[in-house]
Symmetry: C2
Subunit: 231 residues, 2 copies
């Protein structure tokens, strides 16, 4: 692995606290690879050979069944992904493909499982990361079950705004068709949902969204402070 990315990756919550020599052991057996856009990294059902760390770029996690497909998550740099499959050594429940050109660190899965046993700090970080991921999934599931499409969109906008500093200006990082799939709807209906929110405090201009009336938006989508982890 090239040395340039090391500090960046070593600062990740997952690797931050572990012993230096163990981290070196992991990194020295890993390799950084560049993938073009729209490339499938792995598919549902495959055996996990590597823990993935997205260093740069954008990755979609998605699932398919009986011809239908849906986006489960969008991974932004710098983040590790599919940790659960690596830890349990069980087949992937999702497929992954690059959205944009991406640099990904590939860490041999067996090595991760081994080092985790030897280094309690890494294990603790793994535990925390999984707990967080679990909670994110609970949020996603309740969102899907309890809210209808325009509400889901509105809450996502509020959440993104919060993460981007609460400026009231949100720039979409992905195509809208992907956003639609993440929200569990069709591109057509996402477009209509934007239309609905247009009279509820937001305005849209291509990928640029502006929250013009936050109170109106919140009144409509009823964000749940606990569940959205805002505030």
């Amino acid at each position: 692995m090239r040395v340039a990315e090391k500090p960046e990756i070593a600062k990740l919550p997952l690797f931050r606290e572990m012993q230096d020599e163990q981290r070196e052991r992991i990194f020295s057996s890993s390799f950084l690879q560049v993938f073009p856009p729209q490339l499938t990294l792995f598919e549902l059902g495959q055996h996990p050979d590597f823990l993935h760390v997205l260093v740069d770029g954008l990755v979609e996690l998605y699932a398919t069944s009986a011809g239908r497909d849906t986006t489960i998550g969008i991974v932004e740099a710098v983040t590790s992904f599919i940790l659960a499959a690596v830890v349990t050594d069980q087949p992937y429940l999702m497929s992954a493909r690059t959205i944009a050109s991406s640099r990904i660190l590939l860490v041999p899965a067996a090595l991760v499982r081994e080092v985790v046993k030897d280094d309690c700090a890494l294990m603790q970080a793994t535990m925390r990361e999984l707990a967080q991921a679990y909670r994110d999934m609970v949020r996603a599931l309740t969102d899907m079950k309890l809210r209808q499409s325009a509400e889901r969109l509105g809450n996502l906008i509020l959440q993104q705004d919060h993460r981007q500093g609460g400026t009231g200006k949100v720039r979409l990082k992905t195509e809208k068709r992907l956003l639609a799939s993440l929200l569990g709807m069709t591109p057509e209906n996402l477009s209509r949902a934007f239309g609905v929110l247009g009279s509820r405090g937001i305005s849209v201009n291509g990928p640029q969204i502006t929250i013009s009336d936050r109170a109106a938006l919140e009144a409509f989508v009823r964000p749940d402070p606990v569940r959205e982890n805002l505030a």
Copy 2:
């Protein structure tokens, strides 16, 4: 804590591998409590004070938002629950209530977090449990996003049958209204979904379900061997 339940609880994957004295430390500060049916154990947004272990009975995990509510999971004995909230020390994302009269072991959350740090075996078990819980949530989310109601019901029946030994006879442990909520539909539509599956290889008699034509059922619901963790 009474001594009678100890072996049963100590055999749980979560506590099985840990050091005996650490386990004793945990159990000696915990207490077993009996709750009547329909009692709320905790609510969304509260701070987690205890790790719960359901020793006997049945518990529903559910979420509410804007007047609507939905079941996220049904906990059967003997299982621990809300481990993620305890580990992260963050507010509950779900509420919990007893379905039936239940005996629950309450383990102080702070103690869990402390002992986890001291006992690597417990930490590893926690990590595995969280990874498994995460994967279950991924399955639930894809199920909800990709399948329609009768398919979800059919897959749940196949899954239950598998877990109960693959005899082709499944007995529902809960009221159908609760099952409907777990599957993300109304009781009325669950009833209709049973009707649909009636011509697809199952027959229903109260809480007793019989798979009369497994091939027909599987052809209709298209179970995903990876995702359902059958086979």
